[in-house]
């Protein structure tokens, strides 16, 4: 049985789908990294993703244009992000709990709109894999790296953009300062609110794209609660990656590889109960959290609202 795994086709398949499946995690967790680096925990990622997934799907379906769909998802995520920013920054609500509120809101609203506007599950023809001359035809390498759609490549590109912005720009410096010591940043003339508004609404937009990557690029359907916890895992991946984009990507890849392994276990009918296979990534996440927190310290001001003169 187990030897079925060690064929070239299966191994290549696992790695290729692992790379592809990391996409929604990457968008969501990179967006979340910015928010947390600036000191705000956005736990509403799941809700933002669901609404983004719905917006992308519905707009693509009605206009026939995937790019409009993507734009709609970005806008939806942005609006949700602005809501979270307002509640966390201006109203100073407890972030862990307000995020759950936004999650329930997104869960309910995406379901409501789905039932009212569509009613049944239909499919769209989503983003197609890009064909690279020569490269895509290479054996193994071609299938692993050069056979994905644009949103997959976009996700990995965003990791490096995030790394660059956080480590090599003044903006990144300001974001980190606001997350570590908002008082000091404020006294140096950095507007804590502005930076946080920027990072959280950006995070919301990225969550929207993460949702879109599911509904119009990977699965090409919309269903109620289709993210089923993916947004929460994305938040966990930020902790796992120690708030650094490249490490977050490592975590996302590890997670999606395990996931893809699990899918192949089911496809190949290997006698491991599939429930345990599905469970594996979550157990892994808990273990990973235990290991990471021993060596990385979260941003000092994480979840702490900032008020001038305190």
């Amino acid at each position: 049985m187990i030897e079925k795994f060690f064929t070239e086709a299966v191994l290549v398949g696992i790695i290729a789908s692992g790379i592809r499946l990391a996409t929604p995690y990457l968008y969501a967790s990179i967006g979340e990294t910015f928010g947390q680096r600036s000191g705000v925990l956005n736990l509403g990622v799941e809700g933002q993703m669901l609404l983004g997934a719905f917006a992308a799907f519905y707009v693509s379906l009605t206009t026939g244009n995937l790019w409009f769909g993507l734009l709609a998802a970005m806008l939806t995520g942005l609006i949700m992000g602005l809501g979270m920013a307002f509640v966390s920054i201006n109203l100073q609500a407890v972030q862990g709990i307000s995020g759950i509120g936004f999650y329930l809101f997104g869960l309910g609203l995406s379901d409501l709109l789905f039932q009212k506007l569509m009613g049944t599950v239909v499919t769209v023809s989503g983003f197609r894999p890009i064909y690279f001359p020569v490269l895509s035809d290479l054996p193994i390498v071609g299938q692993i790296f050069f056979n994905h759609n644009i949103l997959v490549y976009g996700a990995y590109a965003m990791v490096f953009v995030a790394w660059f912005v956080l480590n090599k720009t003044t903006l990144g410096l300001k974001i980190k300062a606001v997350g570590e010591s908002p008082e000091a940043a404020d006294s140096l003339g950095v507007s804590v609110s502005k930076i946080r508004y920027l990072t959280i609404s950006f995070g919301g937009m990225m969550s929207g794209i993460a949702g879109a990557s599911l509904s119009i690029a990977l699965l090409n359907v919309f269903q109620q609660n289709m993210t089923s916890g993916l947004g929460f895992i994305a938040v966990a991946l930020v902790y796992f990656g120690g708030w650094r984009p490249i490490a977050v990507m490592g975590g996302a890849l590890l997670f999606s590889m395990v996931n893809s392994l699990q899918l192949w276990v089911q496809v190949l009918n290997i006698p491991i109960p599939s429930d345990f296979a599905v469970m594996m990534p979550y157990v892994l996440t808990i273990i990973a959290l235990v290991v990471t927190v021993q060596r990385v310290r979260p941003p000092s001001a994480l979840t702490k609202p900032f008020e001038r003169g305190h």
Binding site: G83, A93, G101, F105, L112, G229, D275, M279, I286
Partner: protein, 383 residues
């Protein structure tokens, strides 16, 4: 008149009513959404009220629906008071239900009077165990409990799916080709006593009784005092000699226990067997999250959580009628619940500011020298 408006009791009353205002605001947004959906909000809320309170049966259903919300809400009161955020109600409810069901299936011949309390205890223990793990991870390994409890939810669901389609499957189903993942029906002698002819069962009574006990636990015992002290200020508590880590574990353990009990009551009072559609919601009906909403609405006070759970139970039951009569998906209620959470936590700051102000006013009165600028005084006390 003005003096009356400014008086302390009125100001306190206004603060106590804040969640009600938050709920009204959420319902107003809900009304707007109904308008957009092309439904008359008045008719819709009418249908909702009728569905929730229209007959003895619907009223009983409301109470039945409110029971797990209250139980989980009680657990949330304990953990949130200890500044530990338990999002794992769904998983804890499942594990509690699994353990209680396994016990019931293993000893079908025991008399109900013995089995029912033991099964409730099994639910309590199962939930406590599932909550205790993230508690220990937080206390001793500093793992964020929000994330670990969410992961524990996903693990619990898979465990349920595995058990119900394998070791615990109904022998009848196991013999059939369909193999619906469900357990056999528990012995009828284990059914929680009911108020015939409705679905109202003993569980609601247990939950209300426990609400009073949790109130006593939190405000009249040292255990509760310690949990709340740690919730207020971890560092000060440590200096005061409280074992902070132990309180963190205890808070999550107890919080999980109540969710587990809710699971056991759900099985022994309503379903009489466990069945899974593959998701957590299929069994819990989202009670793990809605219980948080109820507890927040009850201002994290066990007694206040009683009417809060009743209110959200009514919303859930009424939503079914809303769907039947007006074709408005019941997902509207999830949306409104989300808004209630956001509005309640958003209004907290306002309440705190006013509490601060009352404190300053009081101190000024004692000094007999009112501060020239109350705003400034508030700031000073606050900082």
């Amino acid at each position: 008149m003005e003096k009356w408006l400014r008086s302390e009791s009125v100001s306190k009353l206004a603060d106590a009513l804040l969640p009600v205002f938050a709920a009204l605001a959420a319902l107003a947004v809900g009304a707007l959404m109904l308008l957009v959906l092309g439904a008359n909000p008045f008719e819709a809320f009418g249908a909702l009220l009728d569905g929730a309170f229209g007959s003895a049966n619907s009223l009983a259903d409301t109470v039945v629906k409110a029971t797990p919300l209250l139980l989980i809400g009680l657990g949330i009161c304990i953990s949130f008071r200890g500044n530990v955020i338990n999002i794992g109600g769904e998983g804890q409810m499942i594990i509690g239900a699994l353990l209680a069901t396994a016990l019931g299936l293993a000893f079908p011949d025991w008399p109900g009077i013995v089995m029912i309390p033991l099964a409730m205890l099994a639910g309590f223990v199962g939930g406590a165990f599932w909550g205790g793990i993230p508690g220990a991870l937080k206390a001793y390994f500093n793992v964020n409990e929000i994330l670990s409890t969410i992961m524990m939810n996903a693990i619990a669901v898979q465990l349920m799916n595995f058990l119900l389609s394998g070791p615990m499957i109904d022998p009848v189903q196991a013999a059939k080709a369909s193999q619906i993942p469900q357990t056999a029906r528990l012995s009828t002698s284990f059914d929680l006593p009911r108020l015939i002819p409705t679905r109202l069962h003993l569980g609601a009574g247990i939950a209300v009784l426990l609400a009073i006990l949790v109130y006593i636990l939190l405000w009249r015992t040292t255990i509760g005092y310690r949990i709340r002290a740690v919730g207020q200020n971890r560092f000060a508590s440590r200096y005061a000699g409280i074992d902070v880590k132990r309180q963190i574990v205890l808070a999550l353990l107890l919080s999980g226990a109540f969710a587990g009990l809710a699971g056991a009551i759900q099985v022994f009072g309503i379903n009489h067997r466990m069945i899974t559609d593959g998701s957590a919601t299929g069994f819990t009906g989202n009670a793990g999250f809605n219980g948080i909403v109820a507890a927040l609405f009850g201002q994290l006070n066990p007694i206040g959580t009683i009417p809060a759970a009743f209110f959200f139970g009514a919303l859930l039951v009424g939503a079914n009628k809303l769907q039947r009569v007006m074709q408005v998906p019941s997902a509207l209620i999830t949306t409104i619940n989300g808004l209630v959470v956001v509005f309640v936590v958003s209004s907290e700051k306002w309440r705190k500011t006013r509490e601060q102000k009352r404190l300053t006013d009081m101190m000024a009165e004692i000094d007999g020298d009112p501060p020239p600028n109350p705003e400034k005084a508030v700031k000073e006390v606050g900082s």
